[in-house]
Subunit: 351 residues, 4 copies
Amino acid sequence: MVDPAIIRGAYAHMTRVGIIGGTGYTGGELARILSTHPDVEIAAMTSRQNSGLRVQDVHTYLRGYVDLTFTERISDTKDLDLVFVATPHGVAMKEVPALMEQGIKAIDLSGDYRLHDVDVYQRWYGHEHTDPDNLQDAVYGLPEFFRDELKGADLVANPGCYATSVILACGPLMKAGVVGEDVIVDAKSGTSGAGMVPAVRTHHSTCGESIIPYSVGNHRHTPEIEMAVDRFAGSHTKVTFVPQLIPIVRGILSSCYFDIEGDLTQEDVDAIYEKQYGGETFVHYVQDPSIRAVVASNHAQTASKVLGDKVVSFGVLDNLVKGASGQAVQCMNLMLGLDEKTGLNFPGLGV
Amino acid sequence: MVDPAIIRGAYAHMTRVGIIGGTGYTGGELARILSTHPDVEIAAMTSRQNSGLRVQDVHTYLRGYVDLTFTERISDTKDLDLVFVATPHGVAMKEVPALMEQGIKAIDLSGDYRLHDVDVYQRWYGHEHTDPDNLQDAVYGLPEFFRDELKGADLVANPGCYATSVILACGPLMKAGVVGEDVIVDAKSGTSGAGMVPAVRTHHSTCGESIIPYSVGNHRHTPEIEMAVDRFAGSHTKVTFVPQLIPIVRGILSSCYFDIEGDLTQEDVDAIYEKQYGGETFVHYVQDPSIRAVVASNHAQTASKVLGDKVVSFGVLDNLVKGASGQAVQCMNLMLGLDEKTGLNFPGLGV
Amino acid sequence: MVDPAIIRGAYAHMTRVGIIGGTGYTGGELARILSTHPDVEIAAMTSRQNSGLRVQDVHTYLRGYVDLTFTERISDTKDLDLVFVATPHGVAMKEVPALMEQGIKAIDLSGDYRLHDVDVYQRWYGHEHTDPDNLQDAVYGLPEFFRDELKGADLVANPGCYATSVILACGPLMKAGVVGEDVIVDAKSGTSGAGMVPAVRTHHSTCGESIIPYSVGNHRHTPEIEMAVDRFAGSHTKVTFVPQLIPIVRGILSSCYFDIEGDLTQEDVDAIYEKQYGGETFVHYVQDPSIRAVVASNHAQTASKVLGDKVVSFGVLDNLVKGASGQAVQCMNLMLGLDEKTGLNFPGLGV
Amino acid sequence: MVDPAIIRGAYAHMTRVGIIGGTGYTGGELARILSTHPDVEIAAMTSRQNSGLRVQDVHTYLRGYVDLTFTERISDTKDLDLVFVATPHGVAMKEVPALMEQGIKAIDLSGDYRLHDVDVYQRWYGHEHTDPDNLQDAVYGLPEFFRDELKGADLVANPGCYATSVILACGPLMKAGVVGEDVIVDAKSGTSGAGMVPAVRTHHSTCGESIIPYSVGNHRHTPEIEMAVDRFAGSHTKVTFVPQLIPIVRGILSSCYFDIEGDLTQEDVDAIYEKQYGGETFVHYVQDPSIRAVVASNHAQTASKVLGDKVVSFGVLDNLVKGASGQAVQCMNLMLGLDEKTGLNFPGLGV
């Protein structure tokens, strides 16, 4: 990595971005990634709770990287090119309309713009959707499957962390039409996926030496996965989704089980994934997927094994990077016409 | 719990047991449990590696509880009533024949006597089975499903930890004949299930912040589960088994997915499990299964949820207790005509 | 362990106890331990939050062991022999006076009766002490140092978890007068020591891959340790106490550093500890102290090493057992004239 | 971060480096960091164990970042500018002489060149030092205290991870001469500090729910710290060093206790640290030091609190970055006349 100051001189225009909801994990992670992005300047970060405090005093890891003070709202949006909305579900839909009206591009990291069907949204989220117009136009921000739509998009719904891992794991087989229209997803997430607000389930004494199934069969990423897959697969797939909390901080492993339709060898499977991901920067097809290989990076790994008349596919990523803020920056790059990997071209920790 | 010395006086005869392979985790755990069992005296513990050392100097947690020195072999078996064989696979079958000849009951905690078919054993374990005669007679030591056979048995094959969790989770639905003959098992185990020998996969830096699939589709508990289930279910079930290592020390959660055959409501499922386990001491049907609720005890929890046309069943236990040494003591109690819960009647930690 | 039902018949009188504050970790742990105590019957458990719920539905690990319903208050105390008060600081002093008036023995697990000096209490706890009379009479419940006072005591202040580990580690050297009157205590605790209420510091994403110093130099166990030590050592020792949270659920390791006064060899140190603890059931002097060796038991380990002109002493225990509820039961046994180890005579997990 | 390919064009000369010992954690971490360094090209990586394998197949996190094959030795050193030696103690001193003879700069990450006194080396490492000449000239690679010596150095002894954390924590007070010549260091390290070779102490079941003191009073970083401090403090400080393993993967927290000499207020302490570190890029003085704030980065945090007549200072860092490979790259930058922060200018993870 290089001193951004050295590099920036080479660019005529720095993109100016804002972050609404800068206190939470995804907001902080956005600032962390963007702080070393050569083409971007963070112009504003909002926080209700920490308004008036310096960002680096709240997120001490940003000391020396982000020299801003949290404000309650973005006071002056006129010189912003793009805004990341990292607020809870239900809040984002109140922020996005004004941005769209002012011609500011937006990436929403909540669930508000992921489900194109207003009725489905209301059934799963339990409240009305107040911005159905923009909902129609939002592009689902998974570059490996919707890259063309993302180029030039004005509003992007950044995918959920679980949904990203599942779609990356399952997409190739679904597109190839070689598996049944039914998938069982047994997903495991680190605790940072639950956000920064302390709760019983993420209390260390509760989860630190356990694995905890939750929202069994009724997690909101279920319709998200189904809707996204419908758009690129030829037919509807039904998802049975069982998330489980594991005692790690960052990382998701989703294990996805299909019935094979017709004949399918391991070689066929390997070829399908290599074809899908061989040219990708951030998604890899490997023999032994490893959270540690991708953690702290925008990379994801997939693996797929034929087991008799079934096949299991794994998807592995860092829920805060490829599962949230890193993917949002990848989308931003595409929306702005930048090289997709700008600011994201660093490997996972390995250890 | 009471001072064993106080209680023992009330019994005319103390059962004398030996433990072959006392250094490993299951051997130490047997000693830990038996040291407070009111009817049992540990007469001998063997260890190749620690022969000549005091047990309490190797297993410091047994200080004040086990006053023995490890020997290389059991020198004098004539006054033993029962021997636990806690050696690696392949070693047990060399120890058991002599015990049977001397009329000493035995419980094997390895995989040597779990697969009744010699050919299946050789295919999965990669070496010949040298004791096919006793293999025929070994009873599979899962009391909740084979209690009658265990009473008075001479040789018991103690089930594998994964297998126990899966059979407890799935058995009721399989027996009831309400699900398809096909189950997907996504199992997660703590690291103590891998034993005491350091290895790359269980090196803390490798697994401490990860979840690692291994032996995908070819773990030896697959045929064990299938064979056990065949004996009490009316038909053959095919198991797709994917084990995964999680960063906890003790505990297993197995998530088992079935297709429903015909109609099956949540109420039906609840009734099936309550009927199966309502009278059991150690196996419970609950809403929210929790490893912490059972860890350090011989208790197991099951849960089962209807999800559309599928059902997911969970099995939770401590892999070293109900998944190994505790269950072995439960079997011993049955073999000796003692109350099944003697020496095991203590709750899980909760926290 | 044996079926309590079998054993109880042998006793003419079962001690009837109540637990005020049965929802928290120490309240649940008391119930867990007492449920298999051969001489005790839990007659009542209170909980403001869970009043009306069955204990085993709140603490699912107690299913089959505790058949009670939480009540808001103990309605009928007249047949109780002893009450454990497991409430937060400041609440216990409102419960204890009534118990004393009715002639019911009490063990307080909070800090309310640990600091005999009202002024010191008020300075460290920040509110007035409303029961100074009973405060004078409370015995500090560390049996290894105050056993004689505990026999027949009416009110016991159960020590803090950190304090217990430090006093066990340091007491022998302090009593022997071979070290300076100044000790640096670097203590590390698992997260269950912080209780059941979710908070930022014990949120898994905060503490799960970290070690967090807190209350540096101003933790309330500092005066507790100093006061307790004053009573058995010949002179006042000043404690510099730095607690740190580590990502384990149960367990404390306190590392205590002294300057040596005069000559002191490792052999001298070994002799001092062996003399102090050689006859104890629950406290051991070992070469390599291990949390796993004592976790889930009432045992503690100490170790002490001469390092030039300094000496480091370690104290290790399970903060919920020897550091709280187990020690409270040990005190109860002494108060009631029972064998001190009754109901506590089981080893640590080891693994 | 930017695509190195974009940046490199701006530089006339890329520094060509080799890594001897590329399989271990520090070797892999060097490759990880250097792979995005804008001025460096990794020209060779050696590995006895993995010779002939592609680096990215051994370290899968380097896929797309390092396109090299491990060789047994560096076949052609003539075009190398600098070599990192990441081998075990005792091996480095066999590699360094040839590099020095060829005029290739070297940075040794082992302990071989840290102790300038041959006798001290031999006492602590137990074998002869075979390269005493270069030992005299090696510069201790802690830029914040030896920056001037590092500029233009030919051979650098990269500090140990513990030693770095302790010197950063204690150095300011020692230089200022306000504390006694005696420090107690209670240090806690994550398991990656023990390297990649599986062992009993780092077996997950051993350490995963524990904290383990080891090498109490005889760890090799003790003389290293003392020697380094002697060079910048006016007088000799005696270090009592007690390392402990904690169940995290990356990170060290060292807690260092001094007696205060004369008067010293918290304000004095704050001023001393601010003066020392106010101008540093990578070392910060903070109120609440946090491993998560620095993990995966080259940043370190210090904090210091007056506690009566004592003061405790904390040092926090990622043992594989500022404690090893990141610091080595920082030294390389200085040796080569580059901006010290080149390739290292990214924040810690925070979460």
